[in-house]
């Protein structure tokens, strides 16, 4: 089961609470300041295409912890994991 998150860099205030709760340690601190002068949190697998993302499971603990509703969470659903029959036969 794979997932990913999107962190709204402008909304994030760099409180880093999400970093502490991610079971896979997939969030760190960005080097670029946002317009308010915070170093926002950064999803490490941010730039990998979905297919190569492996660690984030979309558990959403980061989003639950985030005070500023700055994180949106996506998770692969069951049918996305088992590609449908035609795809299998190819």
């Amino acid at each position: 089961m794979k997932g990913r998150i999107e962190i709204d860099k402008e909304r994030c205030k760099g409180c880093h609470l999400c970093i502490g709760v991610c079971p896979k340690k997939q969030i760190d601190i960005s080097e670029e300041l946002n317009s308010k002068g915070y170093y926002p949190a950064r999803f490490q697998e941010e730039n990998l295409p979905d297919s190569e993302k492996s660690k984030c499971t979309g558990c959403a603990l980061c989003a639950v912890m985030c005070p500023d509703v700055a994180i949106e969470v996506y998770r692969e659903t069951k049918d996305e994991n088992e590609p449908n029959d035609e795809a299998k036969e190819e």
Binding site: G3, C15, H16, L17, G20, G58, M65, P67, E72, E76
Partner: protein, 245 residues
């Protein structure tokens, strides 16, 4: 991939003005999530306090009326009595509800007003810059208890929730915190139960939520949540204080 977590509908897009790591922000989201889950957005009236959370009316996409400092429970009483089939909640800090608003809150509870109070306890007056509050802990230094709160001089931290539990009209009172995903989800469950207590016309409900205030405690957000877990819960243990639903 399916989106499994996003902003609740009852929360406006407006970014919070709250400090980084402030508990108000999380609690706003939880109240909005419960309002969405129970489908109450269009029949809810919220009563924010004077304090950091006065600007709650900029964030909740529900009808909101600002109450004078401490008087939210009385304003809510006035609204609920006129509109008994609407859902009315107050959102108050510890200074608002347990200092200046003690009488209004105790009497609303005693009358069993069908309103829900969200009591955010961060042990200081936040908006005004970190003064001592009724819930400031013994030994806790604030701008108006520079040597640390002394029982002999400033009295002990006031446990309003326990006091309210004595009032017959209060039906459901729980104290939770927002220091971890687990505690946050427990807080959401408590808020939901409080709203249901109101919806089922059982009586007065209140959820006290221990909440970090990094700026005024002069801590980082992570240190603040640890302080809540290790120090605040000693005076204010997390538990269901009353459940007569």
């Amino acid at each position: 991939m399916k989106k499994v977590f996003s902003r609740p509908r009852s929360l406006k897009e407006t970014p919070f003005h709250y400090c980084p790591g402030c508990g108000h922000s999380v609690i706003h989201r939880l109240v909005a999530e419960v309002i969405d889950e129970l489908g109450l957005r269009e029949r809810t009236v919220g009563v924010p306090p004077a304090g950091c959370a006065v600007l709650a009316y900029n964030y909740f996409d529900v009808d909101m009326v600002e109450a004078p400092h401490g008087r939210a429970a009385a304003v809510a009483t006035g609204i609920k009595r006129i509109l008994p089939d609407r859902v009315v909640f107050t959102y108050q800090g510890d200074g608002d509800i347990a200092a200046i608003g003690t009488a209004e809150t105790i009497h609303a509870a005693n009358r069993g007003e069908r309103v829900t109070c969200i009591f955010v306890n961060n042990a200081v007056y936040g908006m005004t810059g970190g003064q001592m509050a009724p819930t400031t802990l013994l030994g806790q230094v604030t701008t108006t208890s520079p040597q640390g709160r002394l029982a002999r001089r400033e009295g002990n931290p006031l446990d309003l929730s326990q006091m309210l539990a004595v009032a017959a009209g209060s039906v459901y009172i729980e104290r939770t915190s927002v220091t971890s995903p687990k505690n946050i989800l427990k807080t959401r469950k408590a808020i939901k139960k409080a709203f249901l207590t109101q919806l089922e016309d059982k009586g007065f409900s209140l959820v006290e939520i221990l909440s970090p205030c990094p700026t005024n405690w002069k801590m980082t957000p992570s240190e603040a949540i640890r302080w809540v877990d290790e120090s605040m819960t000693k005076f204010f243990p997390l538990k269901v204080i009353k459940d007569a639903v």
